[in-house]
């Protein structure tokens, strides 16, 4: 066989200088919409900063994986969702949760493990869910959510709904077998799923180059192996994120075809708050560079101020409101009660919780 080049499936012929503001999907945004997006970014940032403080005050258990630095990815992608679009992600899930419209109270209370939390204190930081808002979590096992996202897409297609499943994962998660199995199935079955790799450069303390072999175009180009479309973009500017995500969503909606979209982003904090080494595997300068030049909040604020749709006063107001909201959420969480011991034993089986006929026979929970 002669060595032949594959026809690359990369979808967007865009270059770095592309004027994303004038992308169709961005032109549709009203001034109000744009400010609303800013508010979302800020609310995520403030929510997490408050949660960090309380975590450090010993109010929470386990992990706290902060999304700070990556906000534009979730906000941009989620802002495109219609009624039949769904979203699922890994354990770094606060941003997506607030983006889909979950309340700070239920989210903060969940971190505290209170019964008023979105998962009644049973899931914690890694396990936020809001199926009523098409948000399917929040999953702790690296890569484990990717078949579920594929399944959401399967369900949509089965029901004949024109939607898609935005399935987020990290750059370290691409090396889980379940993800690859999902890719093959999604391509083979032509499922409307958009795999969004939030490439923040690290999986815990491991830089991307130390964890993945991949084509020089990056992780998304692994899609070639499944003859699948792929794309790469930067994650700091909402216009850019929206433009690229929308391309992929259109492909899902219109052709029922999957995409891998890699979005380059950065996290400012450690992997989890308990990551004492956060500053060992990367330089202080690297972090500062991102905070200074690539911060999604700053970038968007500058864009909107440039467009004249936001003043710095308004921005400050939005910021104080977000702080107030976060502070109130902390109070709400503080004041809420923990689950009772008896609550340990509910939410295990639907049939039991609903006291149906099917739950009447035999012992189902054991001593």
């Amino acid at each position: 066989m002669a060595a032949k080049k594959t026809t690359k499936k990369k979808s967007t012929k865009s270059t770095a200088t592309k004027d994303y503001a004038s992308a169709e999907v961005n032109k549709q945004l009203s001034a109000e919409d744009k400010v609303e997006l800013y508010r979302k970014l800020v609310r995520i940032r403030r929510f997490e900063q408050f949660s960090l403080k309380e975590y450090n005050g010993g109010k929470m258990g386990g992990f706290l994986h902060l999304y700070i630095g990556q906000e534009a990815v979730a906000v941009g992608a989620v802002s495109l969702m219609g009624d039949n679009d769904h979203v699922i992600t890994a354990y770094r899930d606060h941003g997506h949760a607030l983006a889909v419209g979950m309340g700070m109270n239920e989210c903060m209370a969940e971190l505290y493990g209170k019964i008023t939390g979105c998962s009644k204190g049973k899931g914690g930081s890694m396990h936020y869910f809001a199926p009523d808002k098409n948000y399917w979590g929040g999953h702790g096992i690296v890569g484990g959510q990717t078949p579920l996202g594929t399944g959401l897409a399967y369900g949509l297609k089965y029901k004949g709904l024109k939607g898609c499943a935005l399935t987020f994962l990290g750059d370290g998660a691409v090396n889980q077998g379940a993800f690859h199995e999902s890719l093959n199935i999604a391509a083979l079955f032509e499922l409307p799923v958009v795999f969004i790799i939030e490439n923040n450069g690290y999986s815990m303390g491991t830089s991307q180059v130390r964890s993945s072999a991949h084509p020089e175009e990056g992780l998304a180009a692994r899609a070639e192996a499944y003859d699948m479309d792929w794309d790469v973009c930067m994650g700091e500017n909402l216009y850019e994120v929206r433009a690229h995500v929308w391309e992929a969503m259109k492909r899902a909606h219109e052709k029922s075809k999957p995409t891998i979209l890699e979005i380059k982003t950065y996290r400012y904090y450690g992997h989890s708050v308990a990551d004492a080494n956060a500053k060992k595997y990367r330089t202080k300068e690297e972090i500062e560079k991102y905070q200074r030049d690539h911060d999604p909040l700053k970038v968007w604020q500058a864009v909107l101020e440039g467009e004249g749709v936001l003043t710095s006063e308004q921005a400050a107001e939005i910021d104080s409101a977000a702080k107030e909201e976060a502070k109130a959420a902390v109070e709400f969480a503080e004041e809420s009660p923990y689950p009772e011991i008896s609550d340990i034993s509910t939410d295990i089986y639907w049939e039991l919780d609903n006291d149906t006929e099917a739950s009447k026979q035999g012992t189902i929970l054991f001593d």
Partner: protein, 327 residues
């Protein structure tokens, strides 16, 4: 009553549920065009087409997770594992995503999925293909596990499993697929058997034999031998469902017979038989005239050799011998 094979009874159950609910979809390797590796789904693809009967690649983690994800949206996937042994490559999806998503979401999500396929040794396929993971999965709260021994039970339970709104792991046996037995006629009404209800397959007064799946047949054979050769009257309780578990049926029998042997194709360490033993000795301590004894698969990976494979499994001879030590 008309007689059907276990395989046919299962298929009839699947077919009825496909008819009843358009969200029921059957998926797995070779279930459609090939008619199923063990022919349980024979003819269903021809009847129902590609939407309802779906062949998958050999990607158990991927397609099992896909089924779970789809079930969260209200699809009711019935997933075939060609062998339950292949759970090992889909374990995370089976014990984390399916079992925990309801809990971790504080009850917001449920996962009405059925996973079915054969789980048994005794067919010369060696250690990797002969796992019997009933206890392994029943150990995870959030999951339900059942394992029918007869055609009627297979049909009645699969229908319940599909209607159940929780994940049900349904373990069959390649050794039973060809067995024939009475199954109620669909004309006589919808035939379902609730999960969690044991069935007394043989009444007796001297000793209780508890079993599930193919071991029920070994227990019944042993009971006959005990009656004929030793004048011992053994009661055989078929659990049918491991979780939920019909504790009362077991305990009531023990309160009558005062002796019990648990027959279980799992390995001795931490299997279903260990669990039943723990329950019985705790809840019927004063009723027991002898320790609860167990007949399990001999503690080794499944040997291939057709010459002695059956000796590794619980069989009537070993059950009788065990009973005779206490009765």
């Amino acid at each position: 009553m008309r007689e059907l094979s276990y395989r046919h009874a299962l298929r009839e159950g699947l077919d009825e549920e496909l008819t009843r609910d358009e969200n029921v979809v059957i998926m797995g390797e070779e279930v459609a065009q090939y008619n199923g590796a063990y022919k349980v789904t024979e003819g269903l693809w021809e009847k129902w087409g590609c939407k309802r009967i779906v062949d998958t690649p050999i990607s158990e983690a991927g397609f099992m997770g896909m089924g779970i994800g789809a079930s969260m949206l209200g699809i009711r996937p019935v997933m075939e594992l060609m062998f339950w042994s292949f759970h090992s490559v889909a374990f995370d999806q089976l014990v984390n995503n399916a079992a925990n998503v309801r809990y971790m979401s504080g009850g917001l999500i449920n996962c009405p999925i059925v996973v079915r396929g054969p789980a048994n040794g005794g067919t010369g396929v060696g250690a990797t293909h002969s796992h019997t993971p009933e206890g392994l999965f029943a150990a995870f709260p959030g999951l339900k596990v059942c394992s029918p021994a007869t055609p009627a039970d297979a049909k009645g339970l699969i229908k319940s499993a599909i209607r159940d709104n929780d994940p049900v792991y349904f373990m069959e046996s390649t050794l039973l697929y060809g067995n024939v037995g009475p199954v109620p006629d669909p004309e006589d009404g919808d035939f379902v058997i609730p999960l969690g209800l044991a069935d007394c397959k043989r009444e007796g007064s001297d000793i209780t034999l508890v079993a599930h799946g193919a071991s029920v047949l070994q227990a019944l054979e042993a009971a006959e031998k005990l009656a004929e050769e030793h004048n011992i009257s053994a009661e055989v309780i078929d659990l049918r469902s491991i979780r939920p578990l019909d504790e009362e049926a077991i305990l009531n029998s023990v309160r009558k017979t005062h002796r019990i042997v648990v027959v279980d194709e799992s390995k001795p360490f931490c299997g279903v038989s260990a669990m039943i033993t723990a329950i019985v000795q705790e809840k019927a301590f004063d009723d027991l005239d002898a320790p609860v004894l167990r007949v399990n698969t001999i503690d080794a990976p499944a040997i291939y050799s057709p010459g002695i494979e059956k000796e590794q499994l619980p069989n009537a001879r070993r059950i009788v011998e065990k009973v005779l030590t206490i009765a």
